[in-house]
Symmetry: C2
Subunit: 177 residues, 2 copies
């Protein structure tokens, strides 16, 4: 994508995102969520569950008892990172995250077999003697929907020369790599 215009670059980002929502094998399906924690920066993989280009939002689901929910409540300014190794394209998405817990409409769309990750005892991160000392127990009150409102998208293409662009509200432009 070495000769892409800015507009085509942004379109490529949203194509990647759209594929991530529907295609389990797409690079954007599993993406990084970085947050500010009590002990510095935190990062983990999450699954992309929804996207809305017009509203500029992305949707992630998680256990309400996980550390990331507490971190996002304390500081909603997070980054989502998509890395497409095949095309050497990095997409950084700076977001403000809103947490909504126990939302019945979204819960109804979660397949029964997939509900185990929302709930259970003990809560995430608690010490256990054996990895099997955990009882899953699907619980809508532990189901958290993270709505990620996009503040800024930054792309880096590792083609030669490197091409880096920034998209923020109405302004967009190339920046030095």
């Amino acid at each position: 994508m070495s000769d892409r215009t800015l507009e085509a670059t942004l379109d490529a980002v949203w194509t990647q995102i759209a594929r991530g929502v529907t295609d389990r094998t797409a690079p954007a399906r599993q993406l990084v969520l970085a947050t500010v924690g009590e002990r510095g920066a935190e990062a983990r993989m999450v699954v992309l569950r929804g996207a809305d280009r017009a509203a500029r939002t992305l949707e992630i689901h998680t256990d309400a008892a996980s550390a990331k929910v507490a971190e996002l409540k304390a500081n909603p300014k997070a980054t989502l990172l998509i890395w497409d190794q095949l095309t050497d394209l990095q997409i950084r998405i700076r977001v403000n995250v809103t947490v909504k817990i126990g939302e019945p409409y979204s819960w109804a769309r979660v397949p029964t077999a997939a509900r185990d990750v929302y709930g259970g005892a003990p809560t995430p991160g608690q010490p256990i003697d054996d990895p099997t000392d955990f009882s899953p127990s699907p619980d809508v009150t532990r189901f958290a929907v993270l709505t990620c409102q996009i503040r800024e998208i930054e792309t880096l293409e590792l083609a030669s020369p490197h091409r880096r662009a920034r998209f923020r509200d109405a302004t967009q432009g190339w920046i030095a790599p």
Copy 2:
């Protein structure tokens, strides 16, 4: 790796790290560096350049003028994230990062063709009219070595059931997923 002991899990982590240093195709070769920025959490891909299990350090190289260097000087508590899609293993490494700029011994080991990413004008993130409006100029005073001192390693295996472990100094144990 569903029946691994804690010791074997930690060994698997260091095997991944060692492969990342020497094998350009290994999952740990390109890993995520998450930092605390002025506008919230930041994340980008970096390349693993070195590792020392005895010293519990990992080494990354970057342009001293990049935002991540300023972020790490303000808050050295970062996370490195390795994601092995093939084995569904996530490795989170919480680190304290020390920045050393212009270190001649490390610079001498950087291949000439790879030096272009350290230096050049304008500096990273500055607006430019066209992606080609950037002049690379290898510069040892722009060469930053990030030494990442490990505080904690956390693994998550997405086998069924999920298995999560934490390794910190002398203490290690399973934790709820």
